[in-house]
């Protein structure tokens, strides 16, 4: 083996075209690959299908439970659905936010890093090197896009079912004002974005938990337990002092968007709470992941 010859015969590696100039392209390429993994996975598609099916179930149940038989009890917005199908979206989001939406987000967020570690693909991604910060960033971005997709599926399915089963017309807001159907649907878009923001905060918690283990099931369970514990604490009056700081406390504050004028105060509290959770748990995820020994 003539080492010297080999080295001298070898030209210096040419700089890869477009490498330092266009890092964004490589982010997008990696993100697309990540999204393909999430959205082409049968399990995740089944979860989205469940999210689409549940509003149908709720709509049919409300249709069957006789118009006018409303006694003002049960979850908010339920009573309005019979009068205006648009409200089915709000009813569905409210119902699904208690368990199903957090569950779906927990599955995808919990799997994000722990799944790669469990499969052993994490060591190859890091040896490529994908870059630890870049990998974490892409993972989180993809999960947030999934959260948005999940909320959009609920909204779209609810709107479709609501329109099919119930009369649809100008929307009477919680404050009593009536706005046009178009303006009402626009409000629903904002509601969907707000709920997606709530789920993105949960996803940040999920990402941090996901970096702690190589068992995705454990991470998923931990996220769900955390969300449920927060919801339970939120309903215990004795804990009133900590309620505003609970991650789930502001999830249902989207009704602020259904007032005229919009009740920005609650909305702001919610968005700030989500933002703080994203920052704190994003930092935890980074602190853990940037130094973690990958031995899986």
């Amino acid at each position: 083996m003539s080492t010297a010859e080999v080295i001298s015969a070898r030209p210096e590696p040419a700089p890869q075209p477009g490498h330092p100039a266009a890092p964004v392209i490589h982010w997008i390429r990696f993100l697309r690959s990540e999204l393909r993994l999430i959205f082409l996975r049968w399990r995740n598609l089944a979860l989205l299908a469940v999210l689409a099916a549940l509003p149908v179930l709720i709509g049919v149940a409300l249709k069957l439970s006789a118009p006018g038989g409303d006694n003002g009890q049960g979850p908010p917005f339920i009573s309005q659905v019979a009068g205006n199908g648009v409200f089915l979206t709000l009813a569905s989001l409210t119902v699904l936010l208690t368990l199903v939406l957090p569950l779906v987000v927990a599955v995808v967020a919990g799997d994000s890093v722990a799944g790669e570690a469990g499969h052993g693909t994490l060591r190859y991604l890091l040896a490529i090197p994908a870059g630890r910060a870049r990998l974490l960033g892409v993972k989180y971005a993809a999960v947030v896009i999934f959260c948005l997709a999940a909320c959009t599926v609920v909204t779209a399915a609810s709107l479709a079912v609501g329109a099919a089963l119930f009369p649809v017309g100008p929307v009477t807001l919680l404050s009593g004002t009536t706005i046009s159907l178009g303006a009402g649907v626009l409000r629903l878009v904002f509601v969907t974005l707000y709920v997606a923001g709530a789920m993105a905060a949960l996803a940040a918690i999920g990402l941090a938990i996901s970096t702690l283990t190589e068992h995705p099931i454990g991470a998923i369970a931990a996220i769900l337990v955390l969300a449920l514990a927060s919801e339970v604490s939120d309903s215990v009056p004795q804990f009133a002092l900590v309620h505003p700081y609970l991650p789930t406390h502001w999830w249902l504050s989207f009704d602020a968007l259904l007032r005229s004028p919009i009740a920005w105060g609650d909305l702001q509290h919610g968005l700030i709470s989500f933002g703080i959770y994203v920052i704190i748990f994003g930092a935890i995820a980074w602190a853990r992941f940037s130094t973690a020994d990958v031995t899986s």
Binding site: M1, T3, I7, Q16, H26, W27, R123, I128, D293, T295
Partner: protein, 344 residues
């Protein structure tokens, strides 16, 4: 000779490894040499949280362009060392360079030029072989998306998987999975290939193919660092060898140096072994043994012809004389301990 030989060699010969004799890494591999090394480590150590010292002061020096066999029994710290080289595990102490670039600071700069296979293949079972390589290629920020297709096909072709490119990974055989992992290491132009047990789980044909592939890659000028617990495999393809034992590098050098390191013995076939043994002892030779029709001792640098002359002179009927050198396997076992003799 084998049983007696191993007993002879145990302690005094283990110490001939560089790592034990010269604790100052700087004197072994001065910084100037580091730049020419494909891999250079200095005092690389890893203590896991359980307190177990998995890697203990390893000073690797892998020259560019060589095929380096990283030998050691299972559990001797090879994989942990490789994980540290690739920045997957943080060393407790020590430092290292890849291709002259200090790690882990240079991770993003140097790892794109390094292909690796660490502790078996790992892919997405729901994706095809081709889609799996596309996934890893997408994670590489230095890879050009426009050339991904041809590069992936070329890598698959090189390991003979082109016809199975669209098959799901979960339907791959163990050998195919292993080859796909090697293909993943060949997606770009590499200057260094780090392969951890690349022939694990392969049938003899597959092993042959991988050996051929490694030779081919090395012939292109790529440095290949290949870990194995199979000496025969390393002997066939490697120019340099490092031997690990319970976390320590107990030998490092060329294959010929390893061969030369064995202590030569002199073996006298004679009808009077006791008499021959007396003569050998009288010459100051160590570790004198007698058999039914033979006597042997460590030669210890004495010219065998002189020993023979002394024997004949002393009236020992010499029927045959041999200076057997231990084979590589004996040397390896001597360095790493018997199979179940795991110390620490």
């Amino acid at each position: 000779m084998s049983a007696g030989y191993r007993a002879a060699g145990q302690r005094d010969e283990v110490s001939f490894g560089n790592a034990d004799d010269e604790p100052q890494p700087a004197s072994v591999s001065p910084r100037t040499e580091w730049a020419q090394s494909a891999i250079a480590t200095s005092g690389l150590s890893k203590r896991f949280r359980g307190g177990q010292l998995a890697v203990d002061g390893v000073d690797l020096a892998v020259p560019r362009g060589c095929v380096y066999g990283f030998l050691g029994p299972n559990g001797s710290g090879k994989t942990t060392t490789i994980r540290m080289l690739l920045g997957l595990v943080q060393p407790t102490s020590g430092s290292h360079q890849l291709l002259g670039v200090p790690m882990p600071a240079g991770t993003n700069a140097v790892l794109p030029r390094v292909g690796s296979l660490v502790e078996g293949p790992a892919f997405y079972s729901q994706l095809s072989g081709k889609a799996n390589l596309a996934r890893y290629d997408a994670a590489d920020r230095t890879a050009d998306a426009r050339t991904a297709g041809p590069r992936i096909s070329a890598a698959l072709d090189r390991v003979g998987l082109l016809s199975a490119a669209r098959k799901h990974y979960r339907a791959y055989s163990l050998g195919m999975k292993q080859r796909l992992a090697i293909a993943a290491g060949l997606l770009g132009p590499r200057e260094l290939l780090i392969l951890d047990e690349p022939t694990n789980g392969l049938d003899p044909q597959g092993t042959r193919e991988v050996r051929g592939l490694i030779r081919e890659i090395a012939a292109d000028g790529t440095t290949v660092f290949v870990s194995s617990h199979l000496l025969a495999e390393v002997e066939q393809i490697c120019s340099h060898v490092g031997v690990m034992r319970t976390g320590k590098l107990v030998f490092q050098g060329t294959l010929d140096e390893l061969r030369g390191r064995g202590t030569a013995r002199i073996l006298v076939r004679t009808a009077q072994p006791a008499q021959a043994a007396d003569v050998l002892s009288g010459l100051g030779l160590q570790d004198v043994r007698t058999g039914e029709h033979e006597a042997s001792a460590q030669l210890g640098g004495q010219p065998p012809e002189e020993v023979c002359a002394k024997l004949v002179h002393a009236g020992v009927p010499v029927a045959g004389l041999d200076t057997p050198r231990p084979n590589l396997e004996d040397l390896f076992v001597e360095l790493t301990g018997e199979g179940f003799d795991v110390d620490g």
